[in-house]
């Protein structure tokens, strides 16, 4: 039931509710008012300043649209570009979609509780925009849809709500970047994302964060995967940021549903990154995998992983590895919860430094200690993500390559 009054009542009650994890952000010290930006046509979008284009590219948004099935581009509070090239895939701003299509309401705030905390409440009460991306039944796309949530205005709190729907038997890939303009320093991003992977559908969602040093980021995302569906959730964050706290959660509700979370995080001094991943396996044959790789160059990183097996014949694995390169803290908290007999769940966690034995081995093949170290770190970051189309796989490799130098 879509009941705006009820949602509003709940949101108002939760407006001061602190989140379970992460530093508390004083939202009142940020500006949530609308920032008008002109809508750009396809050819105009290519004429935005080079420096900005570069920032966008770092987050996976190619303004030329090369190798993309569609684009959603939001600057501050306004949609500046939105279109789809692919038959069977719809890309719309959420505010517009809610007005035009009744079906959209069936998905709005269906998975994320509006009263979870002050951030969800704020995203409801002061929603700017966000995207709806929907793959119609049976439609298949290889080229990813790109979405970018860009912040240009100093001290803005950007509130975004995204709905991603992969209808039965469809295949949908999304690469979404969040970035700030080069001059921008302080701000907040609150992003609500609700994912619906229907029977037999495949959805991959790759999120690249490129924030500014004084940005606080509070994504809230929940996915629901039906029978035989596959949800791949990738997250890359290698740039300085003040604080990110998120705990994306997936409910595998149908038989043989699969979820895979992969995250690659590099934390710089002053960054506080509290990144979790939670997957409920509620039916027979469900599969889940969480792989987290973190490097601290002086950041405080918390990796939470939580797998909940509620049905027999499920299989779930959590792998969490941290490298302390230049100080900082990596706090790895893996949790496994088996509720019935016949679950198969495991985890491996390790926090350490680059092994001297590996450095020596590579040096004995003729490379210097620095080269050996960077080779090992690069290897550490190159997670084998299964089930991605080649262009997207290459895109992720490039994103890691671009940030690689900063990491080492």
């Amino acid at each position: 039931m879509y009941d705006l009054k009820e949602l509003e009542r709940k949101a108002r009650q939760a407006i001061d509710r602190k989140a379970t994890f992460g530093d508390d952000v004083d939202l009142d010290s940020f500006d949530r008012s609308f920032v008008p930006h002109t809508y750009l046509a396809e050819e105009e979008i290519c004429s935005i300043p080079q420096e900005e284009q570069q920032r966008l590219l770092m987050s996976g948004l190619d303004v030329t649209g090369t190798g993309r099935g569609g684009t959603y581009f939001q600057k501050d509070t306004s949609v500046v570009h939105c279109h789809s090239n692919e038959e069977g895939i719809e890309v719309m701003p959420v505010t517009e979609a809610l007005k035009k299509h009744d079906w959209v309401k069936e998905y709005f705030w269906k998975l994320v509780p509006v009263d979870q905390d002050k951030y969800t409440a704020s995203a409801f009460l002061d929603l700017h925009d966000g995207y709806v991306i929907r793959a119609l039944p049976g439609s298949k796309s290889i080229y990813p849809i790109q979405a970018c949530l860009y912040i240009d205005k100093e001290n803005l709190q950007q509130n975004v709500h995204n709905l991603i729907i992969a209808e039965e038997g469809s295949e949908l890939h999304i690469i979404t970047g969040c970035a700030t303009s080069p001059h921008m320093k302080r701000g907040v991003h609150v992003g609500i994302s609700e994912f619906f992977v229907k029977k037999g559908a495949r959805l991959s969602f790759t999120m690249i964060h490129n924030w500014a040093e004084e940005m606080s980021v509070r994504p809230r995302s929940v996915a629901r995967v039906e029978e035989g569906g596959v949800f791949i959730n990738n997250y890359i964050c290698m740039k300085p940021v003040r604080s990110i706290q998120m705990y994306p959660t997936t409910h595998l509700v149908g038989d043989d549903a699969t979820a895979m979370f992969y995250s690659v995080i590099v934390g710089t001094p002053g960054s506080h990154l509290d990144i979790g991943g939670r997957i409920y396996l509620k039916n027979r044959g469900c599969r889940a995998e969480i792989v987290q790789r973190s490097i601290s160059n002086g950041a405080h990183i918390i990796n939470r992983g939580h797998l909940i097996g509620e049905a027999p014949d499920i299989k779930a694995h959590l792998e969490c590895k941290g490298l302390l390169l230049k100080g900082g803290i990596i706090d790895s908290i893996p949790q496994l919860e088996g509720h019935v007999e016949g679950v198969d769940m495991s985890h491996e966690a390790a926090v350490g430094k680059v092994a001297q034995e590996e450095i020596n081995y590579l040096m004995s093949r003729g490379i210097t200690e620095e080269e050996a170290t960077s080779t090992i770190v690069r290897g550490f970051l190159s997670v084998d993500i299964k089930g991605l189309p080649v262009p997207l796989r290459e895109e992720i490799d490039r994103a890691i390559d671009r940030s690689d130098k900063d990491a080492i």
Partner: protein, 253 residues
């Protein structure tokens, strides 16, 4: 030429090797025998330059350069390479990329891997989940790409099944230039072919199988950190087999 003079080596405060004198001439391959814990691997690691093996006394010279305290990569650059018994896994580094690192350039790893029957492993992380025999083939592939002048082999037969032993043995013979000299009308005389060999080898073996493939020039026994005897490798191996290390060393002193 590798020259080791009066070498004494310490690991974690314990003396592992002492009074070591060893000379390997260009074209020569030596075989090192000795019981477990006698210091064979330590000797190889010291020659390669592992920093935890501290040289307390003596000198290592390679191609006229004193490398006693040179770092690993400088020794590799001078032409020393090693095939390890239990190398570490490098997660995320493909064997294919490792081959390029060894060769210092982009090479056709597939072509190189074919003769070692190792093509299927090129896109796997270096040593990740490799069996004993697979590790040996991976090490030989890396060494082939690196093509050093002095090759150190730490038990190249261990964990290798009968089927792959010939593959390992003939590969080592090939990269050490120890194959049977070429015959035929246009071939150079055997003596000349032999004298033109430059590769040097030092092979640790327990089983002696490698002797069936590599005609080694010299055998040495390392016992309790001391090089106890030198001689014909076949003869020494036979003696060890019949009398054991302790007795064998006694009879030659």
């Amino acid at each position: 030429m590798l020259i080791i003079e009066d070498l004494q080596v310490e690991l974690a405060g314990r003396i592992l090797l002492k009074d070591i004198d060893l000379e390997i001439r260009p074209g020569d391959t030596h075989v090192l025998f000795g019981p477990n814990g006698s210091g064979k691997t330590s000797l190889l690691m010291t020659i390669m330059g592992y920093p935890q093996y501290i040289v307390k006394k003596g000198r290592i010279t390679f191609k006229g350069t004193d490398i006693t305290h040179a770092p690993l990569n400088e020794r590799a650059a001078l032409g020393i390479g090693m095939s390890y018994q239990r190398p570490p896994t490098i997660n995320g580094l493909k064997t294919r990329q490792m081959i390029d690192i060894c060769a210092k350039r982009k090479v056709d790893a597939g072509e190189m891997a074919r003769s070692l029957n190792f093509e299927d492993f090129l896109d796997r992380d270096v040593n990740a989940g490799f069996s004993g025999g697979e590790i040996k083939r991976s090490e030989l592939l890396q060494l082939t790409a690196q093509n050093p002048d002095l090759m150190l082999f730490d038990e190249p037969e261990s964990g290798v099944d009968i089927e792959n032993m010939a593959l390992i043995g003939t590969t080592i013979a090939r990269i050490l230039e120890k194959e049977t000299p070429k015959g035929g009308k246009n071939a150079k005389p055997f003596v000349q072919q032999r004298s033109e060999r430059t590769k040097m080898g030092l092979i640790i073996t327990h089983t002696g199988y490698i002797l069936d493939y590599v005609p080694a020039d010299k055998g040495q026994v390392l016992l309790n950190g001391v090089l106890a005897c030198t001689g014909n490798p076949r003869e020494i191996f036979q003696c060890i087999g019949q009398l054991g290390y302790e007795e064998c060393v006694k009879c030659t002193i």
